[in-house]
Each structure stands twice: as structure tokens, then as C-alpha cells.
Amino acid sequence: MTPIRNRRAQETHRKRSSRSHRITGNLVAGTIITGIVVLTSIVSFFYTPHSPIKMDIANRFEGPSAVHPLGTDQYGRDVLSRIMLGSQNSLLVGVVAVSVAFGLGTLLGVWSGMGGGWLDEVIMRWMDVLYAFPAVLNAILFVTVMGPGISSGMIAIGIASMPGFARLARGGVLSVLQEDYIQASIAIGRSKWGIAWKHILPNIISTLIVQATISFAGAILAEAGLSYLGLGTQPPFPSWGRMLREAQTYMGIDVWLAIFPGAAIAIFVLGLYLLGDGVREATDPRLIESRMK
């Protein structure tokens, strides 16, 4: 290869690799919003502007002010402090539910795809069955058995999100298994789980991460719904869904109470969706290819 052609090839390669993990607006916006919520949650462990639990009846239903930027609720508790503390709850549910779904779903999906035959059939039929139980319906079953509380909600949401991961992982396994280098690894006698760990998981991990952010958003919405029903987090620990339920009773007196907790849910979920879109745009080869054209 002549020096000029060589240089051109290097430039093209450099251009491709700089574009192959492109930072998009969605990725930036999603990371900032999600980062702020996570940071707020961490800060709330050791600092909130006021006590989120202590009542101050004399100052109840105060609108937004310099002292209470988001106002106070029916017991005079600072809404901002309660929203900050409530973020811990949303994060916890999201992390646990998505970890359960990600871990078990991926494991079952990979197992199903690698095993094939009757094993594949049995696992995927169970995933179809789980698919028939949306998170809230699943939670009704779990709450009946375990009683109301954050644990029932987390498990129910986690199990309801599992089929999505299993289907993606299985699909990924089936497509990667066709590749020549995988067939070569099988031919030289590598163990199936070794191949799955070393070759297949790295190939499907970006798809699973996108699914994880979408499931995380779904978990936040489902938990808010459960808490609204009184089946999730129990008082006095604040949760965004429960705050909305309480606000509904007093919305004729104080409109702000019904606005801020809902806005917190919507902003966090929006941030997660943007983050998911951003990760997909940065890692999906088809999207990168279409951008390069």
C-alpha cells in the first residue's frame, strides 16, 4: 500500500471510530437528568433542607417560597425534602427490579438460546406466561401473598420486566451463534457457557443496557402507581406516588402539592428514556451506519 493510501485508510479508520460511539443530544440530556436525580438521592442520605418527616402544622399548605422552594404539605412538611427522600425509594425499586429482571432474564434467555429444543420451548413459554402479567397485576398477586410494602413491589416489577430481557438475550444468542468464529469455538471444544460469557454477552450487552434503562423507567412508573394505591412504600417514608395520593385529597386547597411529585416522576422517567435512546444511538451499528452515510 502506498503511503498516501495508507494515510487515507488510517484517516477513514479514525473517522469511523470517532463516530462509532457518537455522543448525541439524547445521551447528554439523559445523562444530566438521570445524574441529577441520582445525586439528589445520594445527597438526601445526609442532607435535606428541612426534616422530611417532622410536622409543622402552623405552616401547612404554604406555597413555594424562599424557605420552602416547593411549599409544604398538609402536615407542614417541606415538599422539596420529601421529594429528595422519595428519590431514594424510586432508585431502590428501579435498581432492585431491573437487577432481578436483567440477571434472571438474561440468564434464562442465554440458557434458552444455547440449549435449544425442549428447554428453549419451556423457558420461552414461561416468559410468554409472565408477559400476561403486567407489573401492577403481578403486584396484586405478590401483595396478596407477602402483604403491602416495597419488597412485594420490587419483586413483582422485576418479574414482570424479565420476559423483555429473556427475549432480547435469546434473540442475540441465536443471531451470534450463526457467526463463523462461534462455530469455530464450538468445533474446538470450548464449553457453551464459556462461549456465552466470552463471545455472546459482549455482543448483546449494549442492547440489554438499552432495555435496562427502558425497564428502569417502567419500574419507576409502576412503583409510583403501586405507591399511589398504597401497595408500595409505606408511610411515614415518602414516595412520589403516595405524595400524589395525599395531594389529591387536598388539591382544592393547594394545587402545588399535586404538581411537584408528579413532575419529579415525569422528569426522572424522561431522563431515563433519553439515556436509553442515547445509548442506542451510540452503540447500534445500523444507526451509526445510517449517520455515516
Partner: protein, 314 residues
């Protein structure tokens, strides 16, 4: 087609059977005596024994399952412990609220989502497209029940145009009933419209980029005819799957919105049954809703195959 239909029908029956097994197993995992849980600690041993007998709790586990399933298959779902009424009749009466709610929500979703998708796709990468896509992204992030509370705040508390909650029975006039369903249906519909708009846009763009569309344009067919007669029809095939699956999710997902608006629907019935520890009702409602979801998905699969013959061949 027959072979495809039979295979799908077989899978549907298998799924329904597995769903019933799962619900039965979870309900039997409740720690303690179900009869004691239902009647509480004050119940007399005689009352407990009568209830155990009524709920077939005395026999072996497979006999209990067989008796429950036998009842379900013959349309006899048993009697609610709290309401002392047939569970089947209770479900049907609650469905008279939930089904119209889901249908109304879907009407809102389709009538908002599809025009938004068409507008967005035909104004690709222009201000209108960005606006619709931003609004739909926000729509996906907003919890339906929060939107319901905000709408209630505006239209019921401030403007006093619509009822703040409750349901006017159909016997008092259909118009009144529909008015009480308007806000909850709109709240659910707007959220569904957001995903229809996004998926519809990408389906339409996909179709608009195909050769036969270019051919139609080159033959001098007007843009309107190409869009509505050629493109939208084909884009509607993947979209019908989404709409069908959303309808199934709506039937199962009205629990929270029914509580926000105090609607005596199926979801609220299930929620109340938890508080009243009415275990037979919970078991039957969860089975009913899960079966509805699976059957809706089956119908979506079949209609997809009818609309797109390639599916049957695969």
C-alpha cells in the same frame, strides 16, 4: 392459514393452562390457613370449617386445582366471600365500566396518535416533526394517573365542567356515564397516543422509503393518494400490533386510573378485594385479566397474519 391458526390456538391453550397453574401456585403460597386469613382471628372453628369446605381447601392440592378449573371452565367462578354474590356476575358488572373505559382510551389514542405520526413523517426533520416527537417523548414519561389528577384539577376543581370522580350508571343515561369516563379515558389515551405517534412515524417513514412508493410518485400519482392509499395502509400493519397490545395492556392497566377517579371497574374491584382479603375474587380476577391479555395477543397475531401473508409463510 389453517395450520398457522391451529398452531397459535394450541400455544394459546398451553399459555392459559400455565397461567392458571401459576396463579393457583402463588395463591397457595400464602403463609397460613387461607380460611383464617379471610375470616380473621375472631372466626369460630365451625365458620372456618364451613369456609374451607366451600373453597375446597380440605382436599389434596391437585383436587383443589381441578375443582377450581372445573368451575372456571363451566362458568361457575364461585361466590365472593365478602359480597356473597357470584364472582362471575361481579366481574361482568365491573367490566361494564372497564371495557368502555379501555375502548374510549383507545379511540383517543388512535385519533391523536395516527394524525401525529402522519404529520411527523411528512414533515421529517422539520420543526413540526421535532415538536411532535418531543411532545410524544414527554407523553411517554408522564404517569397516566398524574395526568388524570392534573386534568381533574383543571376540568373538575377549577372549571367544574366534568365530574371529579365516581361513575354514573348506564341505567341513568349513556351520556352521563360517558361523561364520567371522559377524563380517565383521555388520560390513558394520551399516553398510548405518544407511543402510537412514535412507532407510527417510524413505520410510515420505512414504507415511504420503499421502491413502490417511488414508482407511484414517478407515475404521477398525487402525494395525498400515495400517502393515504399506498403508504398508510402498509404502515398500519405493524401499527395494528402495537394498538392491539396496547389495548390488552389497557384492560390490565386501568387499576390505578380507576382508583384516581373512583370508578367501580375491574381493576378497582381487584384492589378492593386485597383490602377485604377476598382471596377467591383476587384469584379469579387475576386469571380473567391475564387470560384477556393472552387472548388479545393471540388476536393480534392472527390479525397480523391476515393483514400480512408473509407472516403465515414464515
Amino acid at each position: 392459514m389453517h395450520k398457522f391458526l391451529l398452531r397459535r390456538l394450541f400455544m394459546l391453550l398451553i399459555s392459559l393452562f400455565l397461567i392458571s397453574i401459576m396463579i393457583f401456585a402463588v395463591m397457595r403460597a400464602i403463609p397460613g390457613d387461607p380460611a383464617q386469613i379471610i375470616l380473621g382471628t375472631d372466626a369460630t372453628p365451625e365458620a372456618l370449617e364451613v369456609l374451607r369446605e366451600r373453597l375446597h381447601l380440605n382436599g389434596p392440592i391437585y383436587v383443589q386445582y381441578a375443582k377450581w378449573m372445573g368451575g372456571v371452565l363451566t362458568g361457575n367462578l364461585g361466590v365472593s366471600v365478602r359480597y356473597e354474590e357470584s364472582i362471575g356476575r361481579l366481574i361482568v358488572s365491573r367490566l361494564s365500566v372497564t371495557a368502555p373505559l379501555a375502548v374510549m382510551a383507545m379511540i383517543f389514542a388512535v385519533s391523536l396518535g395516527i394524525p401525529a405520526a402522519v404529520f411527523s413523517a411528512t414533515h421529517r426533520n422539520r420543526l413540526g416533526d421535532y415538536t411532535v416527537m418531543t411532545l410524544s417523548q414527554i407523553g411517554l414519561a408522564v404517569p397516566a394517573f398524574w395526568l388524570g389528577i392534573l386534568l381533574m384539577l383543571l376540568f373538575s376543581v377549577k372549571l367544574r365542567w366534568l365530574p371529579a370522580g365516581g361513575f354514573s350508571p348506564w341505567s341513568d343515561g349513556a351520556l352521563k356515564s360517558l361523561r364520567s369516563l371522559l377524563l380517565p379515558a383521555f388520560s390513558l389515551g394520551v399516553i398510548c397516543a405518544a407511543s402510537i405517534a412514535r412507532l407510527g412515524r417510524s413505520a410510515l417513514l420505512n414504507v415511504l422509503g420503499q421502491d413502490y412508493i417511488r414508482t407511484a410518485y414517478s407515475k404521477g400519482v398525487s402525494g395525498r393518494v400515495v400517502l393515504y392509499k399506498h403508504a398508510l395502509r402498509n404502515a398500519f400493519i405493524p401499527l395494528s400490533t402495537v394498538i392491539g397490545m396496547q389495548f390488552a395492556a389497557l384492560l390490565a392497566g386501568t387499576i390505578v386510573i380507576e382508583s384516581v377517579f373512583y370508578l367501580p371497574g375491574l381493576g378497582r374491584f381487584a384492589f378492593m378485594a386485597i383490602g377485604m382479603r377476598d382471596l377467591p375474587v383476587i384469584q379469579d380476577i387475576v386469571l380473567f385479566i391475564a387470560a384477556l391479555v393472552v387472548m388479545m395477543n393471540f388476536l393480534v397475531d392472527v390479525s397480523y397474519a391476515l393483514l400480512d401473508p408473509r407472516i403465515r409463510l414464515e
